[in-house]
Amino acid sequence: MASSNYREIAKQTLWTDNPVIRQILGICSALAVTNLVSNTLVMGIGVSLVTGFSSLTVSALRKIMPTRVRMMAQTLIIAFYVILVDIVLRAFYPDMSKALGPYVGLIITNCIIMGRCEAFAQMNKPLISFYDGFMSGMGYTLVLTAIAIVRELMGFGTILGFPILGDWWTPWTIMVMAPSAFFVLASIIWIAHSITAKKSAASDQTINKGVQASGN
C-alpha cells in the first residue's frame, strides 16, 4: 500500500490531500478559532494530539472491534481523549485553559478525527496510524494558522499579540468576526487548487493516487 510510506503520508496530509483545503473537513473550527494566531496554534496542537491518539487506539483495537458498533466505539475513544486534554489543561495549565474556554470541548466535533479513524486507522498498524492522525492534525493546523495570520494581522494589526502594523493601520473589525474566515478560507482553497491544477497537468498520476487514498 502506497500510503504506508511515512513520507507519502506527510505529503498527502500537509498538501495534496490536506484535510481542510482538499477534503473540506474541520471547517466549523476553522471559522471559530482563527481570529488569533495563539488560539489557533493551541487548538491545532490539541486536534493533532487527539487525532493521533484516537487513531492509535482505534488501530490497536481494530482486530477485535465489531464493525457494526465501530462508530460508537470511535466516538467514545475520541471523547475520552478530548476530556483528558481538557482535564490536563485545567489542572496544569490553568491560564491556557482560561484562554481557550469552550474550544477544547469543541475538538470533539472535528470531523477530521473520525475521518482518519474510519479511513486509515481501521486498516493500518497502530504506529503509522498515530503518525497519519497526527500529521492530518498538522495539515489542519497549517491551513488554520495561515488563515489566522491574515485575520489577526488585518483585524488587530498584530501577530501573536506583537504589533506588526503601526498606528496608521485601521483594524478591519470584519476580520475579527467569523464571516471573514469564509473569505480567507475560500481564497486559500482557491490558491491551493490553482497550484495543484497546474501540477496535475504535468503529472496526472500523483494526484489520482492522493484522491483515491482519501476516497472513503
Binding site: L36, V69, I77, A91, P94, G101, P102, V176, M177
Partner: protein
C-alpha cells in the same frame, strides 16, 4: 465471534467501562489541583480588585497566606463581602458578581470603598466571551478603567460614555452585547449591596 450480536454489546460495555474508568481516575487525581487553581484565580481577582499588590514570583502558598492575613470574609445583612483594611485605616469591600454574558456566565469581583460610593477596581474569575471581541473585557485597559470611579447616585451606578451622554467607562467596539451584559451584572450587584447595606441612601 467479532460480528455476533452479543459480542457487540460486550465490546461496547467493556470499552465504556475501561475508558470512563480511566477518566474517573484522572479526574479524582486532578480535582484538588483544579480546585486549587480555581481558588487561586479567585484570590487573585479579589486582590487585584482591592488594589492589593500581588508580589512578583510568589508561590501559591505564600499568596494564600498573604490573602488570609489581609482580607477577611464578613457578612452584612446576609450578604457575603470580603473586607480589606489598609494600614492607613481605609476599608475596601470585594463583592463577587455573577450573571449571564453573551455566551456563558461571567463571574468576577468588584471592589467598592467603605461608603459604597467609589469603585476601587474590578477583575474577572471566569468568562467565555468571543475571543478578540467580547473576550477583550479581560484585557488590562478595559479592567483598569474601573479604578477609582465615582458611582452615579441616581439610576445606573456605572454608565458607558458615549456621544451625547456622560459615563465613567468606555465600552468595547464591536462587542456591544458583552459590554452591556457585563455592565448590567455589575450594576445589579452594586445596587443589591447598596440596598442591603443601606449605603447610598
Amino acid at each position: 465471534m467479532k460480528d455476533k450480536p452479543w459480542f457487540n454489546l460486550v465490546f461496547m460495555f467493556i470499552c465504556t467501562a475501561v475508558f470512563t474508568g480511566i477518566l474517573s481516575g484522572v479526574y479524582v487525581y486532578s480535582r484538588p489541583l483544579i480546585q486549587a487553581n480555581a481558588r487561586l484565580s479567585e484570590i487573585k481577582a479579589q486582590m487585584n480588585a482591592l488594589e492589593l499588590a500581588i508580589p512578583a514570583g510568589v508561590s501559591s502558598a505564600e499568596l494564600e497566606e498573604l490573602y488570609e492575613r489581609s482580607i477577611h470574609e464578613t457578612e452584612v445583612n446576609g450578604l457575603t463581602l470580603y473586607k480589606y483594611e489598609r494600614e492607613d485605616g481605609s476599608i475596601g469591600y470585594a463583592i463577587p458578581f455573577e450573571g449571564p454574558g453573551l455566551w456563558g456566565s461571567i463571574s468576577g469581583i468588584i471592589a467598592l470603598d467603605q461608603d459604597f460610593k467609589t469603585v476601587l477596581g474590578m477583575d474577572f474569575i471566569s468568562q467565555n466571551e468571543t475571543p478578540g471581541l467580547g473576550g477583550r473585557i479581560e484585557e488590562d485597559w478595559f479592567k483598569e478603567q474601573f479604578r477609582k470611579i465615582v458611582l452615579y447616585e441616581e439610576g445606573e451606578p456605572i454608565r458607558y460614555a458615549s456621544a451625547g451622554s456622560e459615563g465613567q467607562v468606555d465600552a468595547i467596539t464591536g462587542a456591544t452585547s458583552t459590554s452591556n451584559a457585563l455592565l448590567n451584572i455589575i450594576n445589579e450587584s452594586i445596587q443589591e449591596v447598596k440596598t442591603l447595606t443601606g449605603g447610598g441612601n
